[in-house]
Structure formats: structure tokens, C-alpha cells
Amino acid sequence: MKNRTTQLLLFAGLMALQPNAQAGDLFAVQVERAETISHGTIEHAVILIEGDKIVMIGEDLAIDSGIPVIDKDPGWVATPALVNPYSRMGLSSRGPSGLNPQRKVSGELYTGAISKDVLEAGVGTVGLYPAGTGIPGRAVAVRTWGSGDARILRDDVYMKAMMRSDSTSKKTWRKGFEEADEHKEKETKNREKWEKDREKLEKDAKDDDKEKADKAKEELKKPYTPLVPKPAAAAFASLREGELTALIGISKSSDYVHFLDALGEEDVQWSLHVPISRESDLFHVKEQEALKDRHVIMTPAFSYHPGTLRRRSMAAEFFSAGAKVTFVPTSDSTGAHESWLRDVGQLVRDGLDSQAALRAMTLNGAEVLRVDEHVGSLDEGKHANILFFDGDPFAATTNLEAVLMEGDFITGEVDR
């Protein structure tokens, strides 16, 4: 919003619409630069926050004198809080094998699973996935603070699936679809049977025997009860309908090719998790059509072309090929979260586009977790999860000055 007048008018209008806002609820922050992620960089940005949401964001917005403004222009750079879409932090590492798409990791949550240091490192949202091989279940997106179920931002965010180059992985996938097909058939048959029975009942309802007719009429009132699907069948049916997405974990390029073979003609939303190891062979598949605009989750690490010291940045290569690179910290440890920005910074210094890098730590992760309506960028209506740095977030000397989560300052002494 560049036009001052429009801004003022809109602002005034907004103020008018507000119910009596309490003094503590509404405040603004003026920063030297805001990386919105969704619509570019805003210089001299003003972010207006009410309660837990961003109400407005724009360049040099005029703020009503009654509203406290934290003026950090020059000084601060604002970015959305970080999102880690793939973690098991705080949870046990054991899990079942085989086809279990109905299991929810949300059942494993406990208070204290996520350390406060992770929150203070700037990570606001974490996607926790279930442990196990095969298809171990569904992930949940949680806030990095709070307790109990209040932490849950969204459940059933994706179905985790481990894909390896072996028959078991592929059979597990196919089995899921087969069960969905089986269920569909059964369901159709059941419905047909019910309809046939209804025809008979309708005939009976017109019968001369009053008892029989009444009984039939009673029966006719009952609605159709669909069959309860097996859990795998339900999950794969949801996959087909786009209600559920899948996150495929692979370890090497051939796993990916085998996954496409197992998927066949099915139209399913999926994203990919690829571990980056020293001599990763993943560059083989970066040009694959199916990876364009696909979320590819990886750690911010360098690889070397196998057998050489030629450094390869998988993140940069996949980004150039058109994939939506999404970062996770190098491990689930607190230390890895604290150094996450530094680790990504190394890739940026090596040549990865810094906007892409920021997006990979925020909005892309939010998209994978399907909470991008609420977090991941600095937009009106989204949660006020904002990080304030005293410079370029990727520069080695920059400090994280303040962390704001849903309108409350977690760290950073601020004078309102």
C-alpha cells in the first residue's frame, strides 16, 4: 500500500470498526525493513498488531497517536517467525512399520516436548511427524509454546510415508490404494443393496397388512449408513480427494523414481523430504518434471559431487530447477535450531538467493503444514509471529533482538 491517503483512510476505517480495543492489545512496530515473504520487501515498514494478529502492514503507515509505536527504524529487520515442518523433537524414536495412515502423532504430544530455546531461537511453528517405517501416520502442526492441545495449530497436516527402493515400500503404497478401491467397491455394493431393499420396503409400505406397512414406513425413515472404511482405505481416499497430503521421505534418487512408479496414475498431493549427506546423489532427479513447484524439504547442508571435492548446494540446484525448497534444521536438537539461520546463511553466501532462503524457512514450511493461512509471512490477518533482527538475518554478526509470537513478546525488552 503505497498511497498515503488510502492508507490513512483505510486505517481510519479500520479503527472505526474496532470494538473498544484495550490499550494493551493494539500496538505498532516500525522497522527499517520488513521481509514479508509473500509480497516482497517493504522499506520503513510499519506493522500494526492487534491481539494475536497482524492487522496491517505497509510502508511508512501513519499511526494514530493513541497507539503505542515501537520505533526501530533504523535498526530492526522484521521477518516472519520460522517454521520447521518436519521434526521429532522431544518424541521417542521408535515406531511401527507397515501401513498405518490413521495413526496421529498428536497423541504423543506432551508438555515440555519442545524446549523454550527453540522458541527463543525464533521458531514459532513445528510440524511433528510420527516415527516408524512404511506409512507411520499423520503429522501435526504445533506452536512452540503453550501446553496441552492449545498448542495444536492444525492436525492431520500430512501423511508421512517412507519410500525406499524395495518391494515393501511400493507394496505398502499400492496396498493403501487397493484398500481404498476395495472399500469403494464394497460401499457401492452396499448402497445398491440398500436401494434395492428400499424398493422392496416401498412396496411393503403400500401393503394391505397395516402392521407390515407401518413397519416398512418406519424402516424407510432410517437414513443410509455408509460402511465404516478401514483406516488405510479412509486415508487413501482422502489422499485422492486432496483432503490429505503426503510427505514422502526418501534417501536417494532411486527411491524417488520408485515412488513415482508406485504412485502410477494416482493424482495425489505430495511433497518430498530428502536427507542431504556428504555424497548425496540427489542431483540426478532435480530436473524431474514432477518436482517443479513441489515442496522439497532438506537440511541446509552442502554435499560434494561423489568422489570429488566439488561442492554442490542441493538447495540452490533444486531451487534453480524450480522446486519449492523448504528447509529444516540439520537435526532435532536445540543447538541445530539455534544455528539454523547461520547454517542457511552459509548457503546464501555460497549463492542461494536470500529471498528463496527466507521463504524456505517460513512460508514454504507453512504450506507443507497447511497452516499458511495463519503463519509463514507478514500479511494482514495472519498471526503476529514476527522476528526482529538488528540486521540481515543471514549475516553472521546479526542478533535476534526480539521474538513476537501471536502478539506477545517472548524475548526482547521493548518499551511500548
Binding site: R278, P306, G307, T308, L309, R310
Partner: protein
Amino acid sequence: MRRPARSALALLFCAWALPASAQETAQVLYAQKALICGAEGDETINGAALVFRDGRIEAVGTRGEVEVPEGAVEHDLGDRWIMPGMVDLHSHIAGSGLNDTVFQCNPGLRASANVIPHNDRMKLGMLAGVTTILFIPGSGSNMGGQGVLLKTGPGGYEDALVRFPGSLKIAQGDNPKRWGYGMQRTLMNHHIRVTLRKGQAYARRWEAYERGEGERPERHLHLDIFRELEAKRTQISTHTQYYQVVLASLNILSGEFGFDAYIDHGSFDSWPLSKRAEELGVAAILGPREVLWPRVNTYPKDGRVEGSAWGFQKEGHPRIGFNTDAPVVPQEELPLQSAMGVRYGFDNTHFAAVRGVTIVPAEVAGIDHRIGSLSEGKDADIVVVTGDPSDPRSAVEMVWVEGELAADVRGERGADREGVRQW
């Protein structure tokens, strides 16, 4: 018996007991090609003739030009080639008990004590054309002991002996770490230097005494080898590989002490030290690994598979040979080692690979006055092959060791010979 009869009998006995006449019948070989492997670069002669007698080569040259003695036994070898018997400077198959590792430095121990001459494995090597080997102790200790240069042909120890001591075996790689107690390179190198220093001092005291200066020193059996080394009558065969280790070998053995030493493995990162080795006169006898794969902790090869012989040759090293470290690579596969060197980049112009298993190791071990090439005056160690000796497809058909026919497997099985060829 009466005296005259006894004398007559004695005379007869003497006549019978005397060795066969000094002038034995000469033998001449006519071959399609002779690989001379001469030191001055005379490489091959096509349409060759070679005369040998009394275990020595008398003459070699083009057929028709070579003077063939009266009554010489002729062998027309048709389209076969002849070459010198091959020399392997890293072999452990001449006997057993090769790793006495009670102490780390054993310069007094002798591999010769363990020799079983012409044993099965040596015989197989001989059938493949390997006629001289350096039998050395293992690499389980820093100084395994003294090696012995032997012929692989039939006969007892004295018949087989070429030179004792063949070498002092020093191992500077990681095998001696097996000794235990956390022993690492610092202590091992130090211990080697201490021993060499004592040994060299001992040798110099004896040299001084023999020149007439100084008192007769005490005799120390375990340091006698250093007298040989100091006088350059023998060399140090060094188990050494990896850059750091080879550098230590070069600096200590040749640089600090000035002994004649040669690299007896030279794998992994060794070839980048080629120029330094050349400066110090250290030869590279390479094996059993002839190939270097790109590995994380070795010098960056940018994905290339490199031959160690290729590397040394690229740096211009003039003395590159091959070994087997038998039984790691079986003795009879010495020519295959040279073939693998060539395969992975070693330029085989003028049969450099064949020289690498004949004259080069002979010269390096100081026995080239009698071994390593088809030259006048040298031992008649002659191998008859069906073609390029490095080629596994070429068969060895005849082997003479010092003029004695040790193997003859020519012709059709059943028709010309009994039994099958082992190799």
C-alpha cells in the same frame, strides 16, 4: 690295498668326483623377439639369438650376427619371445614365520632362517617366469629383520641364494601400530631413528677400525646389518604408503641417514612425493595396490581412478617397478601387476612395464650386475613366453634358472608333455 692301487683308485675317484668340465656345452636360443631390458635402453631384438653356458649368458644379438659356439645345443623357439627372469622385491612366500613382533625393531633377525627353497608357491612363481625374489619379514613391526634375495628355481638354499642380506625391512605404515599399547607414529619414527643412529654409529666405528683407526669395537649381532647398509652393500626395503608416511621414510632413511632405500609399496598418496624421492635416489617399487580410488581422506582426485605407477611416471620418476607383496597378490601374478599399472595409465612404450619387473628391481636391489636383463655375463635366467609378458594371455613355456632348465611345458598336453600346466 697296495699303495699304487690306492693312488690309482684315489685318482679315479677324483676324476669321478670332480664337477663336470668347466667348459660345459653351450646352448643357443632362437626366438622371434628378445626383450633385452638393458640398462641403457636397448629394448628389443627381433629375430634374436642368445647363447648361454655355465649358467651365464655368453652372447645375445640378432640371429645370424651372434657367434654360435661349436656343438651348441640349439633350441628353435619359433614365434616365441625370450625375456629375463622377473624380479619381485616384495615377497613373503619363501618360507614361514615372517612376523616376529616381540620387539618393534629387530634389525638382527634374519628371514633366511625361515626359507623353504623351491616351495610350492615359489615354484608357481617360477613357472610364471619370476626367477628372483626378495624374501622379507612382514610389516608387523618397524624393523622386521633382514631379507634374502633368492632364486625360485630348484635346488637347496645355497643354490638359490643370490645375496644375503637382501635388505633391511623397515615398515613405517600403520601395521606396526598393532604392536599395541597405543603405539603411534611419533614413537615409532623415534624408535626407528634411535636404532638407525646406533646402527650407523656402530658401522662407522667398525669402518674406522678396519681402516686402522680406533679400537676394535664390540660385536653386536643385531647391528651388523648396518655395516652392510653403510657400505651400500645392501638396501632398505621400505613398507611405506600415504604421503605423511612416505615423507617420513624419505626424510629419515635417505635424508637423515643417507642409506640406500626404496619404496616397496607406494600406494595411496605417495606419488606426489615422486620428485623428492627422485632427488634422494629413492626408487618406487609399487604394489600390491596399483590403483588409487577417490577416497575422502586421500588427496583430491576429482573422481579419477589413478594408477600409482601412472602418478610416479607423470612426475618423471626414472625408476618405477612393480611387486606383488606375495601372497597378497600371488607370486605368479607379478606380470599382471605390471599389466594393471599399464591399464591405469602407465605408458608402456619400449616395454617399460616389463622393465619394471626385471631390470628396474634388479638395479634397485643392487644385483643388476648379474640379474635383470639378457646381457652378456649375467645369469642365464631366461623365460620363454608366447607374447607380451604383461598380457595374462601370454603363457610361459620354458624357464631357465642359471642355465638349468627349471620348467618346460611346451606343446600339447599328452602329446609333447605329461601332465597339465599348473600355470
